[in-house]
């Protein structure tokens, strides 16, 4: 009988202990932060790294990183914000700098003003990045990367055609066309692959001359000399025949990762994609962006893209999301070194610049101190105000590209773009 009482009490005790342990675990349940981004090799990969670091101190937090194609994600986001339903929206979303003001001004209430939380010290970020996500004195983003551009080329193909690294340093676009023809003649590889529906290279040319679609106060600036020079050069490039026409992101990246195309001119964020083929290590090199000839003030530096992380007001896990951004993206210098080497993520977190990675050489790119080069070029990029109508401007330019490729008049194209843009901006 004594044994029975002991057994019952111990069983009861064990049950109570088990129950309280269970409830404690339930209370300590996992938080999942949902994030939308668009490049598995680049921004998706940087988020994964950030998540892994944050999990060390907060093991209950996991990230759900959803990968989209960029235009699909932008349209899905805009469609949902316009409809007013917040079901299915993520906690954190990546928005490209060109469209930041469009979203913030159209849907101000849907984004969380991170400057209000005081969790992030914006003095640590590049001023231009903070400015482009600020509306009415409130800043909405965690600034991420700059689209510092460069000429990424296969040093082995160029060597085969007789060109060394010095031959590609600070060249003009005309020189690039000349090199492209020689490379194709000697190696059979086309120099570039261009999507004729995407005016990315045109934007690089335009910003390298200090021009943009809009003036700083938001009016259309299509008739400026920088615009005309960029469009003329772009038409020349398209008539040069040194490129393979592609359609869409997969086609474009497939061109140079497969070894078919010899080079590409684009933002530093392409490094993640280039490095996804480790067997090509040592065969790539990076030169400064080609320069526009005949425009005063044109430089061998420009920008394509660049994005920032935003938190949605409707986020289910807003506080953990903001804390995650503030702790890793807003403070962790070591994190920025890792994503620089791994993905070419050129963050705009200024204290990270003192880190070792920013000064190191990269064996993948022929042992050159590429990140130091990108830092120098970053300082030279002519600053422009992207405005709120970049999509409309892009559409206006895209509509003229095919005509220009066939040899159409640049002045007519400019008039058409100006008319279309003014019409869409009302």
């Amino acid at each position: 009988m004594k044994l029975n009482v002991l057994n019952r009490r111990s069983v009861l005790g064990a049950a109570l202990a088990g129950f309280s342990f269970l409830s404690a675990t339930v209370a300590y349940s996992a938080t999942t932060i949902t994030i939308w981004c668009w490049d598995k090799e680049f921004n998706g990969a940087t988020m994964k790294e950030a998540g892994a670091r944050y999990a060390k101190a907060h093991p209950d937090v996991t990230l759900n990183i959803v990968d989209f194609a960029k235009p699909d994600m932008e349209q899905k986001l805009q469609a949902q914000l316009a409809s007013g339903t917040t079901d299915g929206l993520p906690d954190i979303v990546l928005i490209e700098d060109y469209g930041a003001q469009k979203y913030l001004q159209s849907f101000t209430k849907d984004f969380e003003p991170l400057s209000d939380t005081k969790a992030i010290d914006y003095k640590n970020f590049a001023p231009y990045k903070v400015a482009l996500s600020t509306v009415a004195g409130k800043t909405y983003s965690l600034p991420f990367d700059s689209g510092d551009s460069g000429l990424f080329y296969r040093s082995d193909y160029l060597a085969q055609a007789g060109y060394k690294a010095e031959d590609l340093n600070n060249i003009t676009w005309d020189k690039l066309i000349e090199i492209g023809k020689a490379v194709e003649a000697k190696t059979g590889h086309k120099m570039l692959d261009l999507d004729l529906n995407d005016d990315g290279i045109f934007r690089i040319m335009l910003q390298s001359a200090g021009g943009w679609f809009f003036t700083p106060d938001g009016k259309s600036d299509i008739t400026s000399p920088a615009f005309k020079a960029a469009l003329t050069q772009y038409a020349k490039l398209m008539q040069s025949g040194i490129y393979k026409p592609v359609s869409g992101w997969a086609d474009y990246t497939g061109g140079f990762t497969s070894g078919e195309i010899a080079s590409t001119v684009t933002g530093v964020w392409i490094v993640g994609t280039i490095k996804s083929k480790p067997d090509q290590s040592g065969k790539w090199a990076i030169a400064p962006t080609p320069r526009l000839d005949g425009v005063k003030g044109a430089v061998n530096a420009s920008n394509l893209g660049g994005s920032s992380w935003y938190v949605l007001s409707s986020a289910k896990n807003k506080a953990p999301a903001i804390d995650f951004l503030a702790q890793i993206w807003g403070k962790d210098k070591d994190f920025y070194q890792k994503i620089l080497i791994g993905q070419g993520a050129f963050g705009t977190f200024l204290p990270a610049r003192e880190g070792d990675a920013f000064k190191a050489s990269d064996a993948f790119f022929g042992g050159e101190p590429v990140w130091l080069n990108f830092s120098n070029w970053l300082a030279q990029i002519p600053p422009v105000n992207f405005g709120t109508f970049t999509n409309e401007a892009d559409a206006a330019v895209d509509a003229q590209i095919a005509g220009l490729a066939k040899g159409g008049s640049v002045d007519d194209a400019i008039k058409a773009i100006d008319a279309q843009l003014k019409q869409q901006m009302q």
């Binding site: 316009a82 849907f107 004729l196 109508f389 509509a399 095919a402 019409q423």
Partner: protein, 294 residues
């Protein structure tokens, strides 16, 4: 024993009630609401009454005019080709002496059960600059340079027409087949005995009997082509080279979800489509009525 007319009417209305309520909510209200929205101007959610401002904007908008031209061009070229093709195939497949009719019928109808996006994606990759189609054409020496399907205005439109025709010919063919089965074969026998040639038989016997079906398929094809979106959005999402494959529906989508949203103007463009559908359907009905009168 007949009930009092009032009571019958009430019962009738009670039966119709739920369906009418649903229709009112999900069809009538959105239609009226979008009509109201087409009178609003403003970016994003900042609406303000604009009266006829959007209609004035239509006349000034070169992109809209291009989209309208593209849509009408596709209509004028694609619909007659498709209907004629469907008609010919139906007449051919109606011939009892043809072997493997069931197989042909299934094969021609099979495209209609494919998903619009799936087949558009396949067409896009098949007609890429170095895709299957170009390689095939080059191998047969039909062309010596690959055709720039996706980068040339003319070829992009051709590609869209090819895609739509492939997709919908079978659908219309089935309607014609069904109508053909309704014609008495004895009429054809009598005509054959009288020595009337096949082409005259087709003209005088087959066609008049098919007028109602031709009218139906032409009207539905017109409506479908006027609203064309899925194919152009998948194959040429940015409107194609020089906006050559920008249709009205794609333009509406761009205005609402790609650019700084102008929902009021987008609603106005959608009413242009409504107007076009109304006009074209009316014309086609009138023409059919004329032909039916002997």
């Amino acid at each position: 024993m007949a009930q009092a007319p009032g009571k019958t009417t009430l019962t009738g209305w009670l039966f119709k009630g739920p369906a009418l309520t649903l229709l009112a909510f999900f069809m009538v209200y959105p239609i009226l609401s979008s009509l109201w929205m087409s009178l609003q101007v403003g970016k994003g959610m900042n609406f303000s009454f604009g009266g006829f401002a959007n209609m004035w904007r239509l006349t000034q908008d070169a992109v809209f005019q291009q989209a309208l031209l593209n849509t009408l061009t596709l209509l004028v070229v694609q619909v007659p080709i498709m209907i004629s093709l469907a008609l010919l195939m139906a007449v051919a497949l109606n011939d009892p002496s043809l072997k493997g009719r069931a197989l042909f019928r299934t094969a021609i109808f099979l495209p209609c059960v494919t998903s619009l996006v799936a087949y558009s994606v396949l067409f896009k990759s098949m007609f890429a600059f170095d895709g299957v189609v170009n390689r095939f054409l080059e191998a047969l020496h039909i062309v010596d340079q690959p055709i720039p399907w996706l980068s040339d205005a003319f070829w992009a439109k051709t590609l869209i027409i090819l895609a739509i025709t492939w997709r919908w010919t079978g659908y219309n063919m089935i309607f014609f087949l069904a109508a053909l089965q309704n014609i008495e074969p004895s009429i054809y026998e009598a005509a054959r005995i009288d020595g009337i040639p096949r082409w005259a038989q087709f003209q005088k016997i087959t066609l008049p009997a098919l007028i109602p079906v031709v009218l139906f398929t032409t009207v539905t094809s017109t409506i479908g082509t006027l609203q064309l979106f899925d194919e152009v959005n998948t194959i040429t999402p940015l409107g194609g080279p020089s906006n050559s494959t920008l249709t009205l529906s794609l333009y509406i989508y761009q205005l609402s979800f790609k650019f700084m949203p102008s929902f009021g103007y987008a609603a106005t463009v959608s009413y242009v489509i409504v107007l076009l559908v109304m006009i074209l359907s009316f014309i086609q009905f009138v023409v059919a009525r004329e032909r039916r009168r002997p």
